[in-house]
C-alpha cells in the first residue's frame, strides 16, 4: 500500500494556518527596509532596474578590465588626406647637402612617412662622388636628439621668437644708431648663400639709414670672423705667401702615383677627407698604375695605417723632413737648396728614397703635410711646385672653398672682447668656450661683450655664457647650399618640418638685417644671379631650380668672381723669399723635452661637435679600436719600460697618468699604440665635453686646452711631461688581439709580386680528403646541395680598397637599427655592430720563427696594418643553422642566412659555432633598460623616430646579425617585378656598400655572371675567409696589395 509522505517546514505550514498562505507567496517574510539603507527618496523614482544595474556593472567591470589589460599600443594613424608624394611603406629620397663647419658632403636623404632616417652619398656630385664618412652617415641622429633646443632663450629662460627678435633688434639698432663693433664668429662656411647672408647682415650696419641723429655717418665696425676648432689656416697663409692665393687648394689624390704625407691624416680629417677617401680609393686600384703611399708621422693614423711605407717620426721632425725632401729633389733637379736641419742617417735614406719616388712621378705625385705651421706648408708648396704638381694633382685655381679659418683674426677678436670693444657677437656653429686653447680668455671676454647671440641648435659650452640663444635648425630641417669648389654647387633642402620652434640662423640674420625675404628665397635669388647665369642647359630658372633640387648638385663653369678667393700680389721673388724664410724658421725647430704630443681628430668624433651622437661615440677608432674615450697613445715598448699595462682587457685596466702640456695638467689613460713614434704621445681632440648633452658629457678629457695658439693654432706640443701611473681606468675596445697569430685572415702581397703572378699571395686552399687527396675545400661536401635557381646574393670586399674608415659601420647601424650599448657593455665585449672592421698589425718576421705569435715589433718600420671588414658571411654550409634547436636561423633560397627573431629563444649556440663571430646577442633590453638611458637613442620618443620601420627592433634575448640588408633586397626585387624586368646589377646596394667611400664593398647577384660580384669572385685576388672550414661563405675577399719595394 502506497502512502504519500507529507513534509512540512513548520507547524504553520502543517496546520496550513491563515497568514502562512499569504506569506508563502513572498520571497522575504518581512518587508525589507530598502528605503532606510538607500535613504534617497529619488531612487524610488528611478527607472533603473536590477537588470540594468547588472548590465552597467558588467560593462564597467569589463571595460575596466579591458583597459587594465591594454598592452603597449602603438598607434598607426592613417593619413586623412594622403600627401601626394608620401606612400606609407615607400621611402622618398631627397637630395640635400650636409654642411658642418669644414665638412661638406652632397647627400641623399631617405625619408619614410616624412621622417628622414638614413643618409647616403649623392653619386651625382662631381666633388664627393657619392662618398660619405662616418659623421655624414651618423648625421641623421642628432636631428632626433631630445636635448636639442626647442625654442629661443634669453639669459637661459625660454622665450618666444618675437620677444627675442624684439630684444636683439633693439640692441642692434642701438649699435646702428650709436656705432660700435659687431662680430659674427662662425665656422668655415661651405655655403655661398650663407656667406652672402652674413654679408647682408654686416652690410646692414653700413647702410645710409644708419646715419646718426645729426646726419653724419656712424662708424659701425662689422666683421665676419671664421674660426675652426681644427684650423687649416696654415695652408692658406702658406699659399698666400707662396702663390699670393689665400686659399686651401683642392687636392687630387686620384691623379697621384706617389703620395707622400708628412703628418697629414687626409683619410680621416685633414682638409677634405670625404673627397680624399674617394680619390685615394681610385688611386689605389691594383695594377701598374697603383699609387705608392709613403707616410711620415708620429701617431699611427688611419692614413698612416693605409700607407705602403710608414716612417715613424716625431712631430718636431716634420719641418726637417720636408726641408730635406726639398733639398733631395732640388739636388736631383739641380735647383738651389734651402737651409735644412740635419736628420739621422737612417732617416736620410728614407728621405732619399721618398724624393726619388716623388721625382719618378713628376707631375703625378703629391706631397701633403698636416701641420698648421705655414712654414711647413710653404716648404711643401715648394716641393710640389718643383715637382710640377700644381695644375695636376693640386689645383689652386679651383681651390677648396670650404676651409676659411683665420686664426689671427680669432686672436684679435678675443683681444677686442677682453678690451670691451665688442658690442655684439654672433656665434654661428662654433663653440669657442670649449675648443679654444685659451677658452678662459674667451669666456672672460664674452662677459664684456654687449650682446652675445648663439645660434647653437643644441647645448654646448658656449651657450651658457651668451645672452640670447636663437637655435638653428638641424641641417635636415633647413635650406642651404654649398659651393665646395668653384663651379660646383650643392643644394640642401629640408626633409622634415622643424621639430621644435627653431629658426634657421640665416633667416635670423636676414631678419635682423632687415631683409624681408626668407633664406629659401635668398638662396633662390643667389642661385639665380650667380649659378643660373653660368650654366647653359636650362632655359628658365624654374626648370633649372627644379633640376637642382632634384639632383642636389650642379656643375657650372667655374667663375673667378667668387668672393671666397682673395688674391693679393705674389710674384716669383716673393715665392722664393717666403720659401727661404720658412726654411730658416723650420731649421730652427728642435725637439723639446722628453715627450712630444701630437693632437689629432678621430674619424668618428672629429672636432667634438658631435660628441652627443652615440653612434659616433660607439664607432671604434679605426686604428685603436677604442670606443667612448680619448686616451694617450704611447709606444708599448716605452710603456713596458715605465711599467704601464700594455695588455688591455675586460679586467686589465689601463694606467692613468698625469700629463702636463703647455702648462695644462690632465689625467688620462695610456693606450699601447703600436707604431707610435717613441718619445711621442697622441691624444684625440673632441672629447671632454661638459655641456654636450646626456650622451656626450664627461667622456674623456678636453685636449684643446693643450694646443698652443700663437698666430695660429698648433696641434703639436713639445716639452710634455708624463707622470707614473696614478691609477687605473677601464678602456673599452672592440679588439684586444692585434696580430693574426700566424694565421692569414687577411692575405696580402706586394705589387711587384702580384704583377708577376696574380695568384702569388693567394694560393688555393686545399684540405686532405679521407683518401688522402688534396682537394679544394668546397669540393668536399657533407650536405646535399640544392639549387639556387633565382638569385644568389653575395658580397665582395676588396681589402686593397678598404681604408678602415668605419663609414660602413655607421651606415649599417642606421639602416638596421643596431642598438648602441655604451662603454660598459663594449668593455664586456658585447658591442652590437653587425659589421666590424678588424685591424691587424703585422711585420715581416717569420711566421714560424717566433713561438710568441702575439709579439709585434712595436716601432718597427715594417709594421703593417691590415683592415678587414667582417659581417655575416652568409655561409652556404652555415654552421649556425645546423645547431639552432628551433630553426630560427635558416637559409633562404637566394643564398642568405636569415634570422627569424620571433622564433629565436636565445641559446647562443649559433654564436659559439660561428667561426667569424659575427652574431650579436641582445643581452639586455636596450630600448627599455635604465642602464642604457644615456646611450641608446631608442629610449626616448624622439630618438625612436630615427629607426628604420623596415627593420624590426630586436627584443631582449634574441640573436641578431647582418641580414645583407634583406629589406633593401626585397624592395629592389619588388620594384623590378612591378616594372616587369630583371634586376640590374648595382640597382640596389646594402647600407655598407653604399656607405663605402672607396667602393671596397660590392654587393650583387652571384648567379648573374655579369655582375660585379661575380667578376670579383673570378678575380685572381679573390679568396674566402676560413675557406678550409668548408662553410662555403658567400662573401669573398680580395687580397691586399702593397706597393712596396723601396724606402
Amino acid at each position: 500500500m502506497q502512502r504519500t509522505k507529507t513534509y512540512w517546514k513548520s507547524t504553520e505550514e502543517l496546520e496550513n494556518k491563515e497568514g502562512f498562505i499569504e506569506q508563502q507567496e513572498k520571497e522575504f517574510p518581512e518587508k525589507i527596509p530598502v528605503d532606510e539603507f538607500l535613504g534617497d527618496e529619488s531612487l524610488n523614482d528611478s527607472s533603473t532596474s536590477r537588470r540594468d544595474f547588472l548590465k552597467f556593472l558588467g560593462f564597467s567591470v569589463g571595460a575596466a578590465t579591458l583597459a587594465a589589460c591594454e598592452g603597449p599600443v602603438n598607434k598607426a594613424v592613417p593619413y586623412l588626406n594622403k600627401p601626394e608624394e608620401i606612400t606609407p611603406g615607400v621611402a622618398n629620397w631627397y637630395a640635400s647637402t650636409y654642411i658642418d663647419g669644414r665638412d661638406y658632403c652632397s647627400v641623399l636623404v631617405k625619408t619614410r612617412e616624412g621622417r628622414p632616417i638614413h643618409v647616403e652619398g649623392n653619386t651625382l656630385s662631381a666633388v664627393t662622388q657619392g662618398a660619405v664618412n662616418a659623421r655624414v652617415q651618423g648625421s641623421v641622429l642628432p636631428l632626433y636628439d631630445s636635448g636639442r633646443y626647442k625654442a629661443p632663450s634669453t639669459a637661459g629662460e625660454e622665450t618666444s621668437w618675437s620677444k627675442v627678435d624684439g630684444d636683439i633688434g633693439a640692441k642692434l639698432d642701438k649699435i646702428r644708431g650709436n656705432g660700435g663693433t659687431v662680430r659674427v664668429l662662425s665656422s668655415s662656411l661651405a655655403s655661398c648663400s650663407t656667406r652672402a647672408a652674413i654679408h647682408e647682415f654686416l652690410n646692414s650696419f653700413q647702410s645710409a639709414d644708419n646715419a646718426g641723429s645729426e646726419g653724419e655717418e656712424v662708424a659701425v665696425d662689422a666683421k665676419h670672423i671664421i674660426y675652426d676648432a681644427v684650423s687649416s689656416y696654415g695652408i692658406r697663409k702658406a699659399n698666400a705667401a707662396s702663390f699670393g692665393k689665400d686659399v686651401v687648394p683642392s687636392y687630387h689624390f686620384e691623379k697621384a702615383r706617389t703620395i707622400v704625407s708628412v703628418g697629414a691624416d687626409f683619410l680621416s680629417n685633414w682638409v677634405a677627407p670625404i673627397q680624399s677617401m674617394h680619390q685615394y680609393g681610385e688611386s689605389r686600384k691594383v695594377g701598374q698604375e697603383m699609387s705608392m703611399h709613403i707616410q711620415f708621422e708620429a701617431n699611427l693614423s688611419l692614413t698612416g695605417s693605409n700607407a705602403d711605407t710608414r716612417i715613424p717620426v716625431k712631430p718636431s721632425q716634420y719641418g726637417a723632413i720636408l726641408a730635406n725632401i726639398y733639398n733631395e729633389i732640388a739636388t736631383l733637379k739641380t735647383r738651389p737648396q734651402i737651409p735644412a736641419a740635419q736628420v739621422s742617417g737612417e732617416m736620410i735614406s728614407s728621405i732619399i728614397a721618398t724624393a726619388s719616388q716623388l721625382l719618378q712621378n713628376e707631375g703625378k705625385s703629391i706631397l701633403v703635410t698636416g701641420s698648421n705651421n705655414p712654414d711647413h706648408q710653404i716648404i711643401a708648396n715648394g716641393i710640389n711646385s718643383m715637382l710640377d704638381n700644381y695644375g695636376n694633382t693640386i689645383d689652386l685655381d679651383n681651390p677648396n672653398l670650404t676651409l676659411q679659418s683665420d686664426d689671427a683674426a680669432v686672436g684679435e677678436l678675443i683681444a677686442d672682447m677682453n678690451a670691451g670693444k665688442v658690442d655684439a657677437l654672433l656665434l654661428y656653429n662654433v663653440n669657442p668656450a670649449y675648443s679654444l686653447p685659451n677658452a678662459e680668455e674667451f669666456k672672460s671676454g664674452l662677459k664684456k661683450v654687449g650682446t652675445s647671440i648663439s645660434f647653437a641648435g643644441s647645448p654646448d659650452e658656449t651657450v651658457a655664457l651668451v645672452n640670447h640663444v636663437c637655435p638653428d635648425h638641424h641641417y635636415l630641417e633647413a635650406w642651404n647650399d654649398a659651393n665646395p669648389t668653384p663651379g660646383h654647387y650643392s643644394l640642401g633642402q629640408p626633409t622634415i618640418a622643424p621639430l621644435g620652434k627653431t629658426r634657421q640662423a640665416q633667416d635670423s640674420l636676414l631678419l635682423w638685417a632687415g631683409v624681408t625675404a626668407s633664406y629659401q628665397d635668398f638662396i633662390k635669388k643667389y642661385w639665380k644671379e650667380n649659378v643660373f647665369t653660368k650654366q647653359t642647359t636650362s632655359l628658365t630658372f624654374t626648370s633649372f631650380w627644379n633640376q637642382c633640387l632634384h639632383d642636389g648638385v650642379v656643375g657650372v663653369a667655374a667663375g673667378t668672381d667668387d668672393d671666397a678667393i682673395v688674391e693679393n700680389g705674389g710674384g716669383e721673388d716673393e715665392t722664393v723669399n717666403s720659401l727661404m724664410s720658412a726654411a730658416v724658421a723650420v731649421q730652427g725647430e728642435t725637439a723639446e723635452g722628453d715627450w712630444e704630443l701630437q693632437l689629432y681628430e678621430k674619424t668618428g668624433i672629429g672636432d667634438g661637435t658631435h660628441a652627443n651622437n652615440p653612434w659616433l661615440q660607439e664607432l671604434p677608432d679605426p686604428v685603436s679600436k677604442v670606443c667612448w674615450d680619448n686616451y694617450l697613445t704611447m709606444n708599448p715598448d716605452e710603456m713596458k719600460d715605465r711599467g704601464f699595462n700594455t695588455v688591455l682587457g675586460q679586467v686589465q685596466e689601463a694606467d692613468l697618468v698625469e700629463i702636463t702640456a703647455n702648462g695644462v695638467k690632465q689625467t688620462l689613460p695610456v693606450y699601447p699604440q703600436y707604431g707610435q713614434t717613441k718619445g711621442t704621445l697622441g691624444l684625440a681632440l673632441g672629447y671632454g665635453r661638459t655641456a654636450a648633452g646626456k650622451t656626450g658629457n664627461g667622456i674623456g678629457q678636453n685636449a684643446y686646452s693643450m694646443c698652443s695658439f700663437n698666430e695660429q693654432l698648433h696641434y703639436q706640443v713639445g716639452n710634455v711631461s708624463v707622470s707614473g701611473s696614478v691609477g687605473k681606468y677601464q678602456i673599452a675596445t672592440t679588439q684586444t688581439h692585434h696580430t693574426m697569430m700566424g694565421r692569414e685572415p687577411v692575405r696580402a702581397t706586394t705589387l711587384e709580386e702580384f704583377m708577376g703572378d696574380p695568384k702569388a699571395g693567394n694560393p688555393d686552399v686545399t684540405i686532405a680528403s679521407s683518401d688522402h687527396k688534396q682537394m679544394k675545400a668546397e669540393e668536399l661536401n657533407l650536405w646535399q646541395d640544392f639549387d639556387r635557381p633565382g638569385h644568389h646574393w653575395g658580397m665582395s670586399i676588396d681589402l686593397n680598397a678598404c681604408i678602415g674608415c668605419g663609414a660602413c659601420v655607421i651606415g649599417c647601424g642606421s639602416e638596421n637599427n643596431v642598438s648602441v650599448v655604451g662603454k660598459d657593455e663594449v668593455a664586456r665585449s658585447r658591442e652590437m655592430q653587425w659589421i666590424r672592421i678588424d685591424r691587424y698589425y703585422s711585420s715581416d718576421t717569420d711566421k714560424h720563427g717566433s713561438l710568441n705569435l702575439q709579439e709585434i715589433p712595436s716601432t718597427s718600420e715594417n709594421l703593417e696594418v691590415s683592415f678587414q671588414p667582417i659581417m655575416c658571411q652568409h655561409c652556404n654550409h652555415a654552421p649556425c643553422e645546423t645547431v639552432c634547436p628551433v630553426a630560427a636561423t635558416t637559409h633562404s633560397n637566394d643564398g642568405l642566412n636569415q634570422m627569424a627573431y620571433n622564433r629565436c629563444v636565445g641559446t647562443k649556440f649559433c654564436l659559439n659555432n660561428c667561426p667569424y663571430k659575427v652574431r650579436r646577442f641582445n643581452w639586455f633590453s636596450y630600448q627599455n633598460d635604465n642602464k642604457f638611458a644615456n646611450v641608446n637613442p631608442a629610449q626616448d620618443d624622439m630618438g625612436r623616430m630615427v629607426l628604420n620601420p623596415d627593420v624590426v627592433v630586436r627584443s631582449r634575448g634574441v640573436m641578431e646579425k647582418c641580414s645583407m640588408c634583406i629589406q633593401r633586397i626585397q624592395a629592389g626585387k619588388l620594384t623590378a617585378k612591378k616594372e616587369g624586368r630583371k634586376i640590374v646589377d648595382g640597382e640596389f646596394q646594402t647600407a655598407c656598400a653604399s656607405a663605402c667611400p672607396t667602393h671596397a664593398i660590392t654587393f650583387g647577384d652571384k648567379n648573374n655572371p655579369e655582375s660585379q660580384v661575380s667578376k670579383n669572385e673570378a678575380d685572381p685576388r679573390s679568396y674566402f675567409l676560413l675557406e678550409e672550414l668548408d662553410v662555403q661563405p658567400t662573401v669573398n675577399y680580395m687580397i691586399k696589395v702593397r706597393n712596396k719595394d723601396i724606402v
Binding site: Q650, S829, Q868, C884, T907, K908, D929
Partner: protein, 493 residues
C-alpha cells in the same frame, strides 16, 4: 634472492644487524627527529638555495647580460654547470642499473641515495639550459609541438634538440626506477605507522606505496620490472652524456670538434658522479648514522671505479693533445696550446691535477681506505671535473678562428650566485629526501645480511661491530667509530 654467505667475503653490513635492526635503522630517519647536523646542513643549503633563487630571478628579470658571457664566449658557467650536474647525475643510474645487472651487491647500501642524487642533479642540470636562453619563457619552442605554423618543427639536426630528448628520457626513467625501488620501503614505513598508530604516515606512505602487500607475487613482479628498467636505463647512462658531448663535438669550434668526446664525456661523467656519490654518502653516513651500512668497503669500491674512470679520462686528455698535434690543423693545435699555456692555464692546471693526478693516489690501499681522504679527494674531483667543462667550453670559445674576436670571460656575481644556488637547492632537496624517504633500500639490504649464517660461521674479527647500538648514538661521537673502523680494517690484513 641469493643469501649465500661466504667465508671469504667480507660482510656488506656491519654491526650484526638483524632484519629488524635494518628496519629500525632505516625508518628512524623518517620517523624520528632530525639531529643537529641535519639542521646545520639544511640551514646552509637553504641559504645558498635562496641566494640562487634571487640570482635566477634577477637573470630572468634583466636578461643574461647580468652574466659574464659576451659576443665571443656565448656559453660559460651556464653550460659548464649544466654538463657538470649532468655528469654528477650519472653515477646514480650506473649504480642502480649497471651494477644491478652485474649483481654487485654492495650497491644496495648506496643506490637509493645515488639515485636521488641523480634525479636532483639532473633537475639542477635542466635548470641551466632553460636559464641560458635569452627568452626562457619560450623554452617550449624546443619541443616538437604541433603549432599553428603548419610545418614548423624543431631542428632535428641540432644537438640541443637531442639533448632535450636525452635528458628528459633520462630523468623520466631515473625517476621511475627510483620510485619503483622505493615502493617496498614506503610500504615498510606504512606498516610501522599503522602499528604505532601514526595516521598521517599511514595515509601518506600508504598512498605512496601503491598498496604494496609484500606477497611473493609482488616481489616477483618487482624483481622483473627492476631488471627490465635496469636494462632500459643502462644504455641511457651512455646515451645521455654522449649526446651532451655532441653539443660540443657537433660544433666546429677548435677544441670542441672532437670525435673522442662521447666516450670521454661518459667516463668523465661516471668519474664525477662517483665522486659526488662519495661526497654525499660520506656525509650521509655521519649525518644519518648509517655507519653500519655505508662502510669502508663501499668507499673502496667506489674509489676503484674512480681510479679506473680517472685514468681513462686522463688518457682521453692526452689523446686529445696528441690528436690536435697529429691533425696538423693550426686552429686545433693552438686551441690546446692555449688551454695549457694561455690565460686560462690555471683552469687547465686545476683540471689536470684534480682529475688525472689526484685519483692515482687511490692506488695506495691506505688512502683509498680512509674516509677522510676519500672525502677530500671526492671534493677535488668535483672541482676538477667542473674545471674540465670550463676548460672545454670557455678556453675553446674565447680564442677560436679569428684573433680579432678573441676575448676573455669573467664571471659576474650572478654567474657565481646561480651556481652556488644550484648546489644549495640540490642539497636542500637531498636533505629533505633523507628525512622523508628511506635513504637505504632496506628491502634489498635485508637480503645481504649475514644474519642467517653468523651462528654457524662465527663472526670473527670481521663481523665485530663497532658499536652495538650505533643506532642511538649521537653523530658527534661517531668519529671514534670511524677510527676504530679503520683500525678494524687494518686488523684484517
Amino acid at each position: 634472492m641469493s643469501n649465500v654467505i661466504s667465508h671469504i667475503r667480507e660482510p656488506l653490513v656491519l654491526g650484526d644487524r638483524t632484519v629488524h635492526d635494518v628496519t629500525v635503522d632505516v625508518a628512524k630517519s623518517v620517523e624520528g627527529k632530525a639531529n643537529k647536523w641535519w639542521w646545520i646542513c639544511f640551514g646552509v643549503a637553504v641559504i645558498a638555495a635562496l641566494w640562487g633563487v634571487l640570482c635566477i630571478t634577477y637573470t630572468i628579470a634583466v636578461g643574461i647580460g647580468s652574466w659574464g658571457v659576451n659576443k665571443t664566449v656565448g656559453w660559460a658557467w651556464d653550460i659548464t654547470n649544466f654538463v657538470w650536474w649532468i655528469g654528477i647525475g650519472h653515477a646514480g643510474t650506473l649504480i642502480s642499473a649497471v651494477l644491478l645487472l652485474f649483481r654487485q651487491k654492495w650497491r644496495m647500501a648506496i643506490n637509493r641515495s645515488a639515485e636521488a642524487m641523480t634525479i636532483f642533479a639532473v633537475m639542477m642540470a635542466g635548470l641551466f639550459p632553460l636559464l641560458h636562453m635569452g627568452r626562457p619563457w619560450l623554452a617550449f619552442y624546443s619541443l616538437p609541438l604541433p603549432n599553428q605554423f603548419g610545418e614548423l618543427w624543431v631542428n632535428f639536426n641540432s644537438p640541443l634538440i637531442w639533448d632535450v630528448f636525452a635528458i628528459s628520457t633520462y630523468l623520466t626513467v631515473s625517476i621511475v626506477f627510483w620510485y619503483l625501488g622505493l615502493i617496498p620501503d614506503f610500504a615498510m614505513i606504512r606498516d610501522r605507522a599503522r602499528v604505532s598508530g601514526n595516521k598521517l604516515y599511514d595515509n601518506v606512505y600508504g598512498l605512496l606505496s601503491f598498496g604494496w602487500s609484500g606477497k611473493v607475487r609482488d616481489w616477483a613482479r618487482f624483481e622483473e620490472v627492476s631488471l627490465v628498467l635496469a636494462g632500459l636505463a643502462t644504455p641511457l647512462v651512455f646515451s645521455v652524456h654522449s649526446i651532451v658531448s655532441m653539443d660540443f663535438a657537433a660544433g666546429i669550434v677548435p677544441g670542441w670538434h672532437t670525435t673522442i668526446f662521447p666516450p670521454y664525456f661518459v667516463l668523465g661523467a661516471l668519474f664525477s658522479g662517483f665522486a659526488m656519490v662519495l661526497t654525499l654518502t660520506i656525509i650521509m653516513r655521519k649525518v644519518m648514522n648509517l655507519e653500519n651500512y655505508i662502510t669502508i668497503r663501499h668507499v673502496e669500491s667506489m674509489n676503484f671505479i674512480i681510479i679506473l674512470t680517472g685514468s681513462l679520462v686522463g688518457s682521453a686528455y692526452i689523446t686529445e693533445l696528441f690528436i690536435s698535434w697529429y691533425s696538423g690543423v693550426e686552429y686545433e693545435q693552438y686551441a690546446f696550446i692555449n688551454r695549457a699555456t694561455g690565460p686560462y692555464y690555471w683552469a687547465y692546471t686545476i683540471m689536470m691535477t684534480c682529475n688525472v693526478l689526484s685519483p692515482q693516489l687511490f692506488w695506495f690501499k691506505k688512502i683509498r681506505n680512509s674516509f677522510i681522504i676519500s672525502f677530500v679527494m671526492s671534493i677535488f674531483i668535483n672541482i676538477g671535473m667542473w674545471f674540465e667543462r670550463f676548460v672545454i667550453i670557455v678556453t675553446s670559445l674565447h680564442r677560436d678562428y679569428l684573433p680579432s674576436s678573441w676575448t676573455m670571460f669573467h664571471p659576474t656575481f650572478v654567474d657565481i650566485g646561480i651556481f652556488v644556488g644550484t648546489i644549495g637547492i640540490f642539497f636542500t632537496l637531498f636533505l629533505l629526501f633523507a628525512r622523508v624517504f628511506p635513504v637505504i633500500a632496506q628491502a634489498e639490504t635485508k637480503s645481504i645480511l649475514k644474519e642467517g649464517g653468523s651462528q654457524y660461521y662465527g663472526n670473527g674479527s670481521n663481523a665485530t661491530p663497532v658499536k652495538e647500538d650505533g643506532v642511538t648514538e649521537e653523530p658527534g661521537e661517531s668519529e671514534d667509530g670511524e677510527d676504530s673502523e679503520e683500525n678494524n680494517t687494518d686488523n684484517e690484513q
